[in-house]
């Protein structure tokens, strides 16, 4: 039995690097400090359903094969294709992504990562208006106003609050953990008293009025000292429950709300009484709280990027930060999902100049989301082969896009059997990055962190990087043979 400290967790964009693992008999026996998702990931390597040999489709059925055959067949498919797509990349290391860009260029394909159905709109608006941002360390030590807009970190990034924002002790700001605990205790106490009253043990007392936050009314909590946590969402999520103030916005009206706030920050008068279901006077109080903070941050998620207006929402949110920076200090940060989606954007950018939706079909990189994004290419039925790595598009792409993806030869590289593997033509198992292979991943604030190898992969299973390198070598061989023949 051995212990490994400071392991980086390869699950979400938080990339917590304080995980402690206990290894016994070559498998992970205990996970300390991690969230439920982290534990599940570290335990998954010894899952009995794990795929250990490559599979190839013969007469409609998947049959086991060898790596050599699987790699050769994959290379033949890609080298022959007129418009292949190479999709995924966000749950593997930057080293594999680098080889991926090389492969995409070699086969003249469309290279895209999961940002296309996630934070792609954020990237589009960053290219239009820039982004005033900072690292999570800055926020941990200095931020006193934290706004989560259209995201639910309590469920999706469970340790974000505890490691980087409201519930962490920074050098200049204290944790709000105790006040949250008090709030939870008070709620539990109230529940107990009510139940006793119901049973007739306690005499019924006139209930003291407790300020509610669900009706958008800014309570005096916005004037309190110390860290403030505000959540803006269409429904009362788990994060909204623990927030100091919860602002409920009408679904699909975030754009109007941000524009309204911007106008108020610029001291303009609005001709309307409410914006997106929020009275203008409440907005004014929120704007006062924003302007009077020392250092504020807005974190945003899918609620902004994938609701109507998409990247225009982010466009105005970033413009709001620009406006606020004329009065105080403010920053903005997207809540990236996969552990290395930021890395995929970064690697693609330093290799090709573009962060996602890169089209190499003309021999040089081209980028035009809407034209070169994988979902649009599939919906227009233009591609004729596909390689999916470290991703599961079949379970989350539009049905029409999936239909076209499945119709053409499909190569899947993934450690596990997922919905895409089940419909693929060549399935190549790989080692789990961050558990069975070391590598590099980028945190949501663009800080690169090393991933550790803690256990050995199953016998004979190769890493993503190695598989891609072999396919690339094979593609080059086929191409040079073709040139010689010509």
């Amino acid at each position: 039995m051995s212990k490994i400290n400071s392991v980086t967790c390869p699950v979400c964009g938080c990339l917590c690097d304080d995980i402690e693992l206990t290894i016994a008999d070559g498998i992970v026996a205990q996970v300390k400090n991690g969230c439920a998702m982290c534990e599940a990931k570290f335990f998954s390597h010894s899952n009995e359903h794990r795929l250990k040999t490559p599979l190839i489709r013969k007469d409609g059925k998947l049959v086991p094969t060898t790596y050599t055959v699987a790699v050769r067949k994959s290379a033949e498919i890609l080298a022959k294709a007129n418009y292949p797509i190479l999709y995924g990349w966000s749950s593997t290391d930057s080293e594999a992504q680098r080889v991926g860009v090389e492969l995409a260029e070699e086969v003249g394909g469309v290279l895209d990562n999961t940002a296309v159905v996630c934070h792609g709109p954020s990237i589009l608006s960053v290219q239009e208006v820039g982004i005033p941002t900072c690292t999570l360390g800055q926020i941990r030590h200095r931020a006193d106003l934290l706004i989560y807009w259209g995201c639910n970190p309590w469920s999706a990034h469970p340790r974000h609050l505890e490691r980087y924002t409201a519930f962490t002790d920074g050098r200049f700001e204290n944790s709000e953990w105790m006040s949250y605990l008090n709030k939870v205790k008070a709620a539990a106490g109230r529940k107990k008293i009510k139940s006793l009253e119901r049973k007739g043990i306690l005499k019924h007392r006139r209930e003291r009025e407790i300020p509610t936050v669900s009706d958008n009314k800014p309570t005096e909590i916005l004037d309190k000292k110390g860290r403030k946590l505000i959540v803006v969402d269409v429904r009362k999520s788990m994060t909204a429950e623990i927030a100091d103030y919860f602002l409920q916005v009408k679904p699909g009206k975030d754009y109007e709300l941000i524009q309204g706030i911007r106008a108020l920050v610029r001291d303009q008068e609005l001709d309307v009484e409410e914006v997106a279901g929020v009275p203008v006077e409440y907005l004014q109080q929120l704007v006062d709280a924003m302007i009077s903070c020392d250092f504020g941050v807005i974190f945003f998620g899918m609620g902004l990027t994938q609701s109507p207006s998409k990247f225009r929402n982010i466009d105005v949110a970033i413009s709001l930060i620009r406006d606020l920076n004329m009065r105080t200090k403010f920053a903005i940060m997207p809540m990236r999902g996969h552990f290395n989606v930021t890395g995929a954007n970064t690697v693609f950018t330093w290799q090709s100049g573009y962060p996602y939706a890169v089209d190499f079909s003309l021999g040089y990189p081209r980028y035009n989301p809407g034209e070169t994004t994988v979902v649009d290419v599939l919906l227009r039925q233009e591609s004729d082969a596909g390689l999916v790595i470290a991703s599961d598009p079949v379970s989350n792409f539009p049905r029409k896009a999936v239909e076209h993806l499945v119709k053409n030869p499909l190569i899947v590289i993934d450690p596990h059997m997922n919905a895409t593997s089940l419909v693929g033509d060549i399935i190549i198992p790989s080692s789990i990055v961050g558990v069975e292979k070391e590598g590099t991943a980028y945190r949501m604030d663009h800080v690169p962190l090393p991933l550790k190898k803690v256990v050995d992969p199953p016998k004979g299973v190769l890493s993503d990087e190695e598989i891609l390198n072999r396919i690339l070598k094979e593609v080059r061989k086929i191409k040079s043979n073709r040139l010689e023949a010509a």
């Binding site: 003249g108 239009e128 754009y255 106008a263 610029r266 225009r312 003309l362 989301p369 809407g370």
Partner: protein
Amino acid sequence: MIILTPIKKTQYPIIAQCISPDVFQEKTLEQINNLPIWIGNKRRILSDLFKIEKTTENSPSIIINGDVSQVRRIGWGMTQGEIVVNGNAGMHLGKKMSGGKIVVNGNAEGWAGSEMKGGLLEIKGDAGDYLGSPYRGSTIGMRKGKIVVHGNVGSDAAVHMKSGLIKIHGNSGPFMGFRMTGGVIHIQKDAGTRLGACMTGGKIVVSGVLEDMLPTFAIEFIKGKVKIELGDKAIGPFFVFLGDLAENGRGKLFISKEKNPQLSQYERFL
């Protein structure tokens, strides 16, 4: 005059920016046949895809008889002559054009007239998204010229528009005239949401119903009629809104009073 007739259908995107009067000019039929195009990731020549005929008439114009909705970049950067498409046209039609005329007797896909600098683009059917808008990350929109669409227009048209005229006989999608700084847009039927968002100049005239008014526009006055171009006026009366206040903008929205009774609540501010 050159007549192109598509002879082959393919599922792959086709990039053919050579289809432009400037490129075809003073070229023999054989040279035109051998102009390079891209089908998917393979380099081909123009005659692989089109039957090309040259008439005796010596004018710099091109007629495409058939559906070319897969063919992108037709009329890229053209400065003179005429292109007539008797069918649907693909993406980036007339991109960066600075002169001449393009007529589409059908629909056009996205980014038609993108970064236009002059000339006339007429679409008899519907236009896709990003009509007259720049590519991703660019802030240089339409600078001059005229676009006429007889059908409907998709979303994000006339983004960053600086000057020129866009006339739409049908309806428009959301985010028309986003961040526009000048120029004129006339929507003869209904307009989508977030019209003129973040605009700082120019004017947008809506003769039909406006789906949703942004809160950051303030009413100024009511006007009887408004000039679209020389010899063309839109008859009102119109509510005139000024905005976008979030950008301290001075852009003008002219919204038909008769068709938009929901905006009468603004009249109390007059």
